[in-house]
């Protein structure tokens, strides 16, 4: 007989609302995106409007004719208009004297690529918006094409591997760092294996959105697109953190801080072997991948050493 835990983890206390989604919605089995959304709906509460786009989340977030898959107020945009539409909403609610969490929810394809201009514009204007990007390193809904956050070496349907192709040739854009350079009050990365960290950052986001633009970059691997077994997606998140491939950090008022410190990071191969998108990488290419991780992390670590407030951060 095992000893029973008396109390559920503290995490459960953060859930101030019920899951706002119907029990059965159209996400692939094992998709962390579904988990991201359901947790968000529990943590953010009802004074929330989600602004989203055509993407993997659309078949769930969008209604279908008069029916809806969830009980969250929702505004469906085109991919070019997420942060701008959210601006329209948040400005009007402000004018009407209402405190509403206007939450953009998009993939990296929208945030980093086609919707990047409006994201950057809204951040520069420091709109009171929480922008959550679920990072799955490609255009998953249209069938796994590369995006500007697809990592070097990864295979996608537009960067296939063959006699003349070795996957994507350029390193990814670091969107959360770019957003931090907009001098906004809060930027953070998160992933689902570290759920406490994610939920704490969501709550922080609600608080910091009063000061202006908040950007959360949530690592959300795609089981289908990356070739992950459906039960392994949380483990992939975990290993991304443990290898420092996806370090967890935040920048509050310009002060960079690691929210999770990996004392003995695992080699990148422990991460890359978990799924198929890197199967073709040879030792040289894996060494490059390891170097990419090392240099990115060193750069981030350097940022955390400043420790002084960015005086440019908007109020």
């Amino acid at each position: 007989m095992v000893e029973k835990v008396k109390k559920l983890p503290k995490l459960f206390q953060y859930f101030k609302d019920e899951d706002q989604f119907a029990g059965g919605v159209a996400f692939c089995a094992g998709c962390p995106l579904e988990l991201t959304l359901r947790i968000m709906s529990k943590v953010l509460g009802r004074e929330t409007v989600i602004v989203g786009t055509p993407s993997c989340s659309a078949p769930v977030l969008y209604g279908q004719n008069i029916g809806s898959w969830h009980r969250l107020p929702y505004y469906s945009c085109l991919m070019t208009g997420v942060a701008s539409s959210a601006t329209g909403l948040t400005r009007y609610y402000r004018k009407a004297g209402r405190d509403v969490n206007v939450v953009c929810f998009t993939g990296d394809g929208c945030a980093a690529d086609i919707g990047f201009q409006t994201l950057s514009g809204a951040a520069e204007r420091n709109e009171n918006i929480i922008y959550v990007c679920y990072e799955n390193e490609g255009y998953m809904n249209t069938g796994i094409q590369r995006s500007s956050t697809t990592p070097r070496g990864a295979t996608t349907s537009t960067t296939p591997v063959g006699p003349a192709g070795r996957g994507k040739t350029t390193p990814p854009k670091n969107v959360p760092l770019i957003m931090a350079m907009h001098h906004i009050p809060y930027v953070a990365t998160a992933t689902l294996s570290n759920m406490d960290d994610f939920v704490r950052k969501l709550l922080k986001a609600v608080e910091k959105k009063q000061e202006g633009f908040v950007y959360l970059h949530v690592f959300t691997p795609c089981p289908v697109g990356w070739g992950i077994e459906s039960d392994m997606s949380i483990e992939v998140c975990r290993m991304a953190v443990k290898t420092n491939y996806f370090p967890l950090w935040e920048a509050e008022n310009g002060i960079f801080r690691l929210t999770h410190n990996e004392v003995n990071p695992e080699p990148i191969t422990k991460y890359t072997k978990l799924f198929r998108k890197y199967n073709h990488l040879n030792d040289t290419e894996l060494a490059v991948a390891q170097e990419d991780v090392n240099s990115n992390f060193a750069f981030l670590r350097h940022l955390t050493t400043f420790g002084t407030k960015d005086k440019n951060v908007k109020k």
Binding site: L61, I66, P73
Partner: protein, 400 residues
């Protein structure tokens, strides 16, 4: 009850647009500068800085964002205004379509400027034509006073419970945008009174965080068609509604513009010139001169381009001997003017009379008195049974 006369100010068309918008007390204004519209943005920012305009001003990073912002603000329950021109309209094209499909009651001033392919910082209605099938209500105006008045009426029309559609108020760039005229500025209180009727109407559906409701649901199958049907039906209703609104406006402010179309000396006319925008003003003087010379010519000013005022046009034109249409844009693939093309679609009702297309005024070319005289003379000859040329590019013919 009558409105006060209002202060007479000498202002440009752009400034008149800004005054019109300001007087309607928008909640959100988002607009990106572009020649020849820039003065609208500047003037609104000035109003805001002077404390006259209590709106959320969004200094956007592009037109696409401007349109998304104003559309979302109206769907959240607010009143919103934007202004653009030419490539700006093109850059917001996806959002323009979305605003219409969402039935967002946005009001936008579009300062007409040439668009496709050949870069031209000059007047032309081609930008407006590129969005004629976007599902918007499109109005075209003639002078600065009408710009101001029509923007007020546009809010009245867009937000009407029976309509709920975005309205684009078009005026010629350069010829009207920079035209300074004496304009009566209504008082804010009177504009409030004029728009107060909207508050008596049922609340339109809005995105309210307390309600589990989503804007922009996926429409599928017959439900999708149902929404399209409702959109088209609302556009049909907008025609009569504009006439009513124009009458209300006239009764209250003492100025009215005829609603969908304005007829000028058409009643006993044998031949008709149909045109729009700044050209109408000049055409009036030519019609007067021709009348003095004994020619029975009348003028129809097209104020509403979408929805197309087919019933009004059929009613006015039926029985006339010939019609000439002066367009400041072209209809690609038909080699004629767009308004002409649309009028031709009414041929079965109007009867077999000569209908002629005159293309003029592209890229700032001045539609001069001699150009209009030439068009009237050609239509007159055609009305007498002489052979005629269907499409005439007036400035090129003169040149060649």
């Amino acid at each position: 009850m009558k409105a006060k006369e209002g202060e007479l100010k000498v202002i440009t068309g752009n400034s008149a647009a800004a005054y019109g918008a300001m007087l309607c007390r928008p909640d959100v204004v988002a607009s990106y500068p572009i020649t020849p519209q820039t003065e609208v943005v500047e003037q609104l920012s000035r109003f805001h800085a002077d404390g006259i305009l209590d709106a959320e001003m969004v200094e956007v990073e592009g037109e696409n964002s401007a349109m998304n912002i104003v559309a979302a603000a109206t769907l959240a329950g607010g009143r919103a205004f934007t202004a653009t021109s030419s490539w700006g309209l093109v850059y917001m094209y996806d959002a323009v379509l979305q605003a219409a499909g969402f039935r967002a009651p946005v009001v936008m001033a579009n300062v007409n400027r040439e668009t496709p392919g050949i870069l031209a910082v000059s007047s032309g209605q081609q930008d407006m034509i590129s969005t004629r099938d976007a599902g918007w209500i499109q109005l075209i105006v003639e002078n600065s006073q009408e710009i101001l008045d029509t923007i007020i009426m546009a809010f009245r029309l867009a937000e009407d419970y029976d309509i709920q559609l975005p309205v684009m108020v078009n005026y010629d760039g350069f010829y009207l945008s920079y035209l300074a005229e004496g304009v009566r500025i209504p008082t804010r209180e009177d504009v409030d009174k004029y728009l107060a009727i909207l508050k008596t109407q049922p609340q339109r559906t809005i995105l309210n965080p307390q309600k589990p409701i989503g804007a922009g649901s996926h429409g599928i199958l017959t439900e999708f068609m149902e929404l399209r049907y409702k959109h088209c039906a609302a556009l049909e209703r907008a025609k009569k509604k504009l006439d009513e609104i124009d009458c209300e406006f006239g009764e209250f402010f003492g100025r009215s513009y005829g609603g969908q179309i304005e007829e000028y000396r058409t009643e006993d006319a044998d031949i008709i010139i149909l045109t729009s925008g700044s050209t109408v003003g000049t055409t009036r003087t030519v019609v007067d001169a021709k009348r003095t010379a004994g020619l029975k010519v009348g003028l129809i000013k097209l104020r509403m381009f979408r929805p197309f005022p087919r019933e009004k046009l059929i009613q006015t034109i039926t029985g006339k001997k010939a019609v000439g249409v002066i367009d400041r844009s072209v209809c690609f693939g038909w080699n004629c003017g767009p308004i002409y093309m649309e009028l031709r679609a009414l041929s079965p009702e109007i009867g077999r009379i000569p209908i002629m297309s005159f293309i003029d005024g592209l890229a700032n070319i001045d539609i001069t008195t001699p150009h209009i005289e030439r068009a009237i003379n050609d239509v007159h000859k055609a009305s007498k049974g002489e052979p005629y040329q269907e499409v005439t590019w007036i400035p090129l013919e003169e040149y060649l």
